[in-house]
Point group: C2
Chain length 734, copies 2
């Protein structure tokens, strides 16, 4: 493994035979108390939101980093070693518990076993260190504490037997002394406009598609004001009164100078209006992006689906920043429910675990818990569900062990807010969101919230086991089982063959909505009869209120895919996402209602351009195509075992890659042939065929009827000749 | 009241008839979330501690300010008003809930009822605002929240019915827009050395007495190093290897320049050692001080006591900085047990309530509680006791209402750590301090800790009532009563006529110490028989381990005073504090053992100069002389009622002032005459006289025997002619 890691870094490869020292030193990275930089950075990022030029902060508690942190690690050296020390903050250094004078930038650690402690104080930014010697390097193996408590013996001296909690340090990609975490900035790339229309003192600049970054004015000269009205649509940029974002500048300069806006913004169009003698040569932009590497891919016989996939990818790139955010224009915050979907898409495109864990840490903040995550009850639960998936896809047990206490306090907050029947019901300060949908009732005890709590409790059971808290695990397991029973006892309506929406005053309401029903399908809470019934009574029933946000479309289509309705879902995708493309969308929207016309599409929240035209939750085809068409999903943590179950829907062929911690799984599938290239781990290929399938390198096992399985080993290619069965038939036989 | 406030400010007085606007504007002050600036500033202050040039931070959790704060206030204006807005951080302004564009520095508020909201984000320093108009001004009446939660209605809009907790803003003395809280610095005053001894490349500079500040080197020129060794004693400054604090500097300059050290330090002597060609013209200092106004005073017939009082005053001045700190040389931290004594001294000298509340807020930090205050169990309890006294002396119920939740979580932390018998016993991470005393056992359940918890529970009962939490009040009251019973059931030893030191394995130990016994006297936990017995069996019993720190001498002498032993205590004071003066002390020490010789006095903690020669707890005569000789103490909050009970001890006469919220009470008392000038409130003069006393302006009531009382009204002078009784006689008759 170590060799592999080195080989993936070309810079290191150059030097590998020359200089052992440089290799060792290149391993060092800036480290901090885990979660602290994530909170600090997310505070900064979220506070870049503006509305009509006004700072627009979140309306919930922001936490802070701990300003005083102790870092340490024990080393056994075969020879003395010079070690360089960098810190963000005031610091001291101890060698074997003895403080060294001043704030040394370099120390010599003698041969033998030694402990280095560095203690850093910084209120403005996160205390962080970068330590680099021949073998000594700061990394996640260092232990850190904010000194929750420390044992002092009766002589008043600090004892070596410490009652302090030590965690593994947090880190990211700040791999040189000069790359200070506090100076963290995403990379930028210059980009030009594709069209400029001038009209007296105004210029409408079109960048050709939705984009994000800093507008740069070239050669500004003269005296007067410049106002930039940003628009995700042409209409928005041209509407000085309603455009959501703008910049107002004043100039008084003889010499032409360039001017870059201080804040990045989302736009396709910019309308620049000048007054006085001020003149601007031209306008370009600095595209700001998270430099994510695409690992997943998808191509198929349907060009519209390919376009949808590409625009979803671009939408997801734009919304993947320091964290997974919801939308790039108006909002730019981290919302747990939105982020939860981004995590899932990420597993099928970037597989960037760091952005997932960073986002989860930012959302969690610190104790004490004083409100639901983003103030929304469902969003608290999505935070737990995100951890469930994170562990399944990445196998990162260390994250769970380190942050189990924060999971526990958040869960206890929830459990402490149950009503007398043990159910979650809105209390003052709670926002029951569910979805943007007209007239959706949040009164009483909503079934959807109980279902999410149940799944969260199952997650806590799993995590308590991993963190070694068996008593907790048993308790959470018991709560989950009891709540699941209640879910069916209280909400299942035999006549409607569905979970009803809510209870009010202890009685079932007559209303059926899709939310709890579709989640109960892919969480496998229904028995097979219920699944079939709910598909008809709810999911395929037009008299049940329709979903208009891509947010809930995500789960609706997932539920249908889980029922084998890939053919139907493909049509829905083409209708819904294809519908946006037909309206000229270059990224997917926060909401789409085909019944609307023209600029009506841009309105939301009572504002003409309130809708975000680039919203992460719009990118869900990335997930659906990877998980339910290419059909790849882990069945144990980190893809130690996994299933590949390709389903073409109505496609003639498809091909693509799905990333895993061990590399990318490649799939090609047509109606006649499948070709799967596997990675480390044990894969199971499942498919349905009209004819007896043939694979030259492995044994195909008939599971009865048209269902076949093939066990796949590590890093090999399997070619199967077969004749595919239509997806509808799957569902019937399931 | 309002008029009085204005009149006390001479600047305002000048303009009072000229310009109503200026008066209004001068009322504005910088405001913040209460407790946040206090925490932020204390972090900075405490991290100025260095040891041999090395940063020496605390070893417990530091908290942070909330980085995002919403401020608001409702105003009803008779005319439109221009309002200036200043903020530390990124901010927005809302008028009646509507955001104004950009970050306006000035707004116009129309006539009528309006709400101003300002929301500020700042991670580096505390979000703070300064708002000033004709009538509108930022002050403690503004409400602030960190948005623990906020109600959002079903349309997704923020409702006016907010579930957020709003507190009154915190403030101090930053009364102009330019006086930024983040730039907070204590004032400095240039001072000269009194003596310089040169010896080759070394100069020993003597500033004549213990002092604190920034050393200034004048006219530094040439190339080489300058090292400054600081000494509270001459020996320390001259000992390059053992001096606790030092500064190392390197110069390479042709032109002579002045150089001021970046950190203030404590010293009387500085030994400057140079190398190379570097030359320094002269050395002075910038004395850094908290600009405290002395209100209390004391003078008497005994010049040694007068000297003790003056040196105690100077000691206390030096240790009163942004907060009450323990010692100015080595430590410079805020320790709850030390600060508790400073609060009490403060009530008899400065009566600076702001420094008390600021210190208590800094000590408390934020939730969650992860360890005892300063990691010390007794120090947690002193925090509660400090609030008890703070309320009694100042009557600041608002502090209690605002911070009751923090009191409660700290108390629940304690209660959660009781053992199976409901007693406090050291757990890993707990430091049981009590006192610096050889061989003092901390094992098992120490009686002193139970007694402090009992008093803390009584404080919680009081505060729960003030904060309107009756159920809590009843619960704490019940706990306190039960624990008091246990204290006597488990620790009172009939044979020894004392509370024993501890229980180990459920059994009383044979050891008797002074701690619990002396506290039980002035908390009035003993019955009269027990008091008399304990005085003999413990307090006046030389076979019980002697106290060597001024820290516990404070309580020992207080207990003796409470028993009427002012004569004995006066002798002790002259021995103990007078003893330090005879050794040349210019401020009082951390510890004093008359048995030691010469430089032995400076050693502590295994270091030759480990002892602090200027320690706040050394200044306790300020408190004893004010409370038990001048005899002034409040009997209900804020001196609404109070007692004046002058006791001369063996003095011929004494006179002085004791500050109260309503002004200073003046006392003159000789063996024959008393003259008391009162303030607002109802005073009770109590005294003992051999002869029938005479007062021309009020009625003296005989209480039987030699005890007399006189009820005193507001702001009047009472002259009483009497003949004093020796204090020993008080004790016998009490």
């Amino acid at each position: 493994m170590k060799k592999n890691v080195l080989i993936t870094c070309p810079l290191v490869l150059l030097f590998i035979t020359f200089c052992q020292d440089i290799i060792a030193q290149s391993r060092a990275t800036w480290i901090w108390y885990p979660g602290d930089f994530e909170i600090w950075l997310s505070n900064n990022m979220q506070n870049r939101r503006t509305d009509r030029g006004t700072f627009f902060p979140v309306f919930w508690k922001f936490d802070s980093h701990y300003p005083l942190i102790d870092f340490h690690k024990d080393f056994t050296l075969s020879a003395p070693e010079e070690v360089k020390i960098y810190a963000e903050g005031i610091y001291n250094v101890k060698l074997d518990g003895q403080p060294l004078e001043g704030a040394p930038q370099q120390i010599t650690v003698p041969a033998g076993k030694h402990r280095i402690n560095v203690k850093v104080f910084n209120q403005a930014a996160v205390p962080a260190i970068y330590i680099s010697g021949r073998t000594i390097a700061s990394d996640a193996s260092w232990l850190v504490t904010f000194e929750d408590k420390e044992w002092i013996d009766e002589t008043g001296k600090t004892s070596d037997i410490s009652a302090t909690t030590w965690l593994n340090a947090g880190s990211w990609n700040f791999n040189s002394p000069a790359a200070l975490p506090s100076a963290c900035k995403l990379p930028v790339m210059p980009q030009s406009a594709v069209n400029v229309q001038k009209n007296n003192n105004a210029s409408l600049i079109d960048f050709g598609k939705e984009t994000f970054g800093f507008i740069k004015l070239h050669g500004v000269k003269g005296t007067g004001d410049v106002t930039l009205y940003y628009g995700e649509s042409r209409e928005e940029a041209l509407n000085a009164k309603e455009a959501i974002t703008l910049d107002r500048l004043s100039f008084q300069q003889q010499q032409a100078k360039d001017s870059v806006m201080p804040l990045s913004k989302a736009f396709r169009y910019v309308n620049m209006v000048t007054t006085g003698s001020v003149q601007v040569d031209s306008i370009s932009m600095l595209y700001e992006h998270a430099a994510m590497k695409e690992r997943g891919s998808f191509r198929c016989s349907d060009e519209e689906i390919n376009n949808i996939y590409d625009v979803a990818k671009y939408t997801f790139h734009l919304n993947t920043r320091e964290f997974f955010i919801d939308g790039i224009k108006r909002d730019r915050w981290i919302w747990s429910g939105d982020a939860y979907q981004s995590y899932l898409m990420n597993y099928y495109l970037f597989f960037d675990s760091a952005t997932v864990s960073r986002t989860m840490l930012a959302l969690r903040g610190k104790d004490p818990v004083t409100s639901h995550t983003n103030t929304i009850m469902d969003y608290t639960f999505y935070w737990f569900l995100g951890i469930y998936d994170y562990y399944l896809y990445t196998g990162d047990a260390s994250f769970i062990r380190q942050f189990y206490p924060r999971m526990q306090t958040l869960m206890e907050y929830c459990l402490g807010r149950r009503n007398k029947d043990g159910l979650m019901e809105g209390m003052p300060g709670d926002w029951i969101f569910i979805d943007w949908a007209d007239g959706l009732s949040k009164k009483g005890e909503v079934s959807f919230e109980q279902l999410l709590l149940c799944r969260s409790l199952e997650t806590m059971k799993l995590c308590a086991d991993i963190a070694g808290h068996q008593t907790d695990a048993a308790r959470y397991n018991q709560y989950a089982a009891a709540l699941k029973r209640q879910l069916f006892d209280l909400y299942w309506n035999e006549q409607k063959q569905a979970l009803v929406h809510s209870r009010v005053d202890g009685k079932q309401t007559a209303n059926v909505t899709r939310y709890a029903n579709m989640f109960a399908i892919f969480y496998d809470y229904f028995n097979p009869q219920q699944k079939v019934a709910v598909k008809k009574s709810v999911l395929m029933n037009d008299s049940v209120q329709q979903i208009t946000t891509p947010y809930m479309r995500f789960y609706e289509l997932e539920a249908l895919c889980a029922l084998g309705e890939q053919d139907y879902v493909l049509k829905e995708m083409k209708d819904y996402w294809g519908g946006m493309l037909k309206l000229g969308a270059t990224s997917f929207w926060e909401e789409y209602n085909p019944a609307k016309k023209g600029a009506e599409h841009y309105a939301m929240y009572g504002r003409a351009f309130g809708k975000s035209l680039c919203h992460a939750w719009g990118a869900s085809p990335l997930y659906l195509l990877g998980k339910y068409y290419l059909g790849v999903r882990p069945t144990s943590p980190a893809y130690a075992t996994y299933t590949v179950e390709p389903v073409l829907g109505s496609l003639q062929w498809m091909e693509g890659k799905v990333p895993t911690p061990q590399g990318d799984i490649s799939i090609y599938c047509s109606t006649k042939e499948m070709k799967i290239t596997t990675v480390e781990g044990k894969g199971l290929l499942r498919f349905r065929s009209k004819t007896k399938p043939v694979c030259k390198t492995a044994t195909v096992i008939s599971k009865g009827g048209d269902l076949y399985e093939l066990t796949m080993g590590a890093a090999a290619t399997y070619v199967v000749n077969y004749q595919s069965v239509k997806p509808e038939q799957h569902a019937k036989k399931k």
